[in-house]
């Protein structure tokens, strides 16, 4: 399969992708790094003097940075926990024989097709609005004080909305994996006298390990840059209670027009993402061999 001619061809075939991705990575990246050392604000034009680590200093010592870090971790971790555990349970359920499996599956997948701005808005208004939202109506019906979701439990509300969007994805992947499990293995285990619980822990869960890795990997990539759900619901507030790193940098860059500060934040976000990436890449690197 590998003659010199085909290797030359392969190099030519892959080069557009490599060049594009390299450009996409290097050009903005070097600009971000460059800007991060400048005092550069779009509303105060003039020379953009070199200020060394000043932007980093202000960005890192700003209390909202610490808050944003914590919020990011809680948001990603919370959604991963809910979707992975929920996804396993849903997959186990949907793997059982039932009527109308096709329709039920369609209903379960549906949230994945809903764009983030829409899901943010419908949960915020139609469900979580304390006066006219469904949860508000239910609370009134039960005679309890309705919760004001976005002022009392803002981050939790966002975790809930995002989990709703990603649960279908986890469910579907895990269901696909479950369905590929050799039925004879389970039957053999049953013959060996394994209980349902031990069949789950000793056979199903190990079989699902790879897919769980995939779910965590893919979701983490998307969850680290959650943006629209926050933008249309809380704008990062109240205070900084729902500001994640992405949103914090967005505020600095495009709302305060502080290019220098936004870039310093961007560099930090990249470094953090790299730390996560190295960890995740290890996981799929192993899976790629398998």
């Amino acid at each position: 399969m590998a003659t010199k001619a085909s290797r030359t061809a392969a190099r030519m075939m892959i080069s557009p992708a490599v060049v594009l991705l390299l450009g996409w990575m290097l050009v903005p990246l070097s600009l971000t790094i460059y800007f991060s050392f400048l005092r550069y604000n779009l509303i105060t034009p003039g020379t953009n003097p070199f200020v060394g680590w000043e932007n980093y200093y202000w960005f890192l010592t700003d209390p909202s940075f610490k808050a944003a870090m914590i919020n990011t971790l809680v948001l990603v971790g919370g959604v991963l926990l809910i979707t992975v555990v929920g996804g396993i349970l849903m997959a186990l359920l949907l793997d059982q024989p039932m009527w109308g499996q096709g329709i039920i599956r369609i209903m379960v997948i549906a949230p994945f097709f809903v764009m983030p701005t829409v899901s943010g808005l419908i949960w915020k208004n139609m469900f979580m609005n304390p006066v006219n939202g469904i949860f508000g109506h239910i609370a009134q019906g039960l005679g309890v004080e309705p919760i004001s979701f976005f002022s009392q439990i803002p981050l939790l509300s966002i975790i809930f909305i995002v989990s709703w969007q990603w649960l279908p994805f986890a469910t579907l992947i895990l269901l696909t994996a479950l369905q590929s499990l050799d039925q004879e293995q389970l039957e053999a285990a049953e013959m060996d006298g394994a209980s349902w619980i031990s069949r789950f822990f000793y056979i199903m869960l190990p079989h699902l390990a790879r897919s769980i890795t995939v779910v965590i990997l893919i979701q983490t990539i998307f969850l680290l840059s959650i943006f629209a759900e926050i933008l249309v619901t809380t704008n990062g507030g109240p205070g900084t209670s729902t500001t994640n790193l992405t949103y914090l940098i967005y505020v600095a860059s495009l709302l305060q027009f502080d290019v220098g500060m936004g870039s310093a934040g961007g560099v930090i976000a990249i470094i953090l993402a790299n730390i996560v990436a190295i960890f995740l890449m290890r996981m799929i690197g192993k899976n790629l061999d398998a």
Binding site: M1, A2, T3, K4, A5
Partner: protein, 334 residues
């Protein structure tokens, strides 16, 4: 025309030399079989000829012109793959016509060749089916059809029968041999099955770890194997090898005697032995006999209806005209 000459051709993958430099001359019209145990480099050699791999050193000359760096399609060779490699999304007709389409052959010529090939291969009724709807043997014939229409200088087959069941295999073996008789085109055929090699080949190349052990007609290989590897590989059941004093008495390090060259008698003979497992094939019976004098197991052939059982004592006499002698390096002593 289809003469293929390899000189000093070698292939290295990474730092493993799969094929040390070798020379080989395949005559026009010859049915040449590469045979050897799996992993010995047969496919690699075939793919070097096809141009699917580059040679590391050496040159390949096809019909007098150097083809070493010519791309596969321009070498005028057609290949039939082990997995058939049919295009699953195309009908049989389109599969067979594909090489002609790629060559931008005139439409009427395409139709003519397609119909001729379908006729020869009994595929006329199946032209509009997809490969997935065909049996193994039919797929095999489509793959051959795709090769025939190109009217190549030579056909290359890589274990084309190994995915078929035993009965079909015998049938296809005959069909391919017949095809060769009719077309008189050079065929290079790879197999690990020495029976296929013996029954089909004009000339056999026995490969072992990338090295050519011997080249010759089936009977030459059978009658005078040049070393113990060829002796053991060609012929079924395997030749018996005897070392030690018995070999020394024939002035050799090792002597070999085929099962069919040992006479069995219940009365007397050179050796005495005890019958172990026996395999009844109907026409022949093979006995595995533990020989007292040699304290080793020999396989012997007897007629189909010899009545011997496990544990019986028998006498064996080797036919000394058919004794093969080898030296310490395993080479034939003539």
């Amino acid at each position: 025309m289809g003469r293929i000459q390899l000189s000093q051709v070698s292939k290295v993958f990474g730092d493993v030399e799969v094929i040390p430099p070798l020379d080989l001359d395949i005559e026009d019209g010859e049915f040449m079989v590469f045979v050897g145990p799996s992993g010995c480099g047969k496919s690699t050699l075939l793919r070097l000829i096809a141009g699917l791999e580059d040679v590391t050193t050496g040159s390949i000359v096809i019909d007098g012109s150097d083809a070493t760096t010519v791309p596969p399609a321009k070498r005028g060779l057609a290949m039939v793959f082990q997995s058939y490699a049919l295009y699953p999304h195309m009908s049989v007709r389109k599969n067979i016509a594909f090489p002609m389409k790629m060559a931008r052959m005139p439409q009427d010529e395409q139709v003519r060749r397609l119909e001729a090939a379908a006729q020869v291969l009994n595929l006329t009724e199946y032209l509009d089916r997809r490969p997935g709807q065909l049996s193994g043997g039919q797929r095999q014939r489509v793959a051959i059809g795709r090769a025939i229409v190109r009217e190549p200088a030579a056909f290359l087959f890589d274990e084309p029968l190994s995915n078929l069941d035993a009965a079909l295999r015998v049938g296809m073996r005959l069909e391919i041999s017949e095809l060769h008789k009719r077309l008189q085109t050079t065929m290079v055929y790879v197999t690990h099955d020495q029976v296929e090699a013996m029954t089909m080949a004009d000339k056999i190349v026995v490969l072992h770890a990338g090295v050519i052990e011997q080249v010759g007609s089936p009977l030459e290989l059978y009658r005078s194997p040049q070393n113990t590897f060829v002796a053991g590989f060609i012929g079924s059941p395997k030749m018996n090898f005897i070392e030690g004093p018995e070999a020394a008495s024939h002035d050799a390090h090792t002597v070999g005697i085929r099962p069919e060259h040992i006479d069995v008698s219940s009365g007397s003979g050179t050796w005495t032995g005890t019958v172990g497992v026996s395999e009844h094939l109907g026409s022949d019976t093979f006995f595995h006999v533990t020989v007292d004098e040699l304290s080793q197991l020999l396989t012997v052939r007897a007629g189909g209806e010899v009545d011997l059982h496990y544990g019986d004592t028998i006498h064996l006499t080797p036919n000394l005209d058919h004794l093969h002698r080898f030296d310490e390096r395993g080479l034939r002593i003539s």
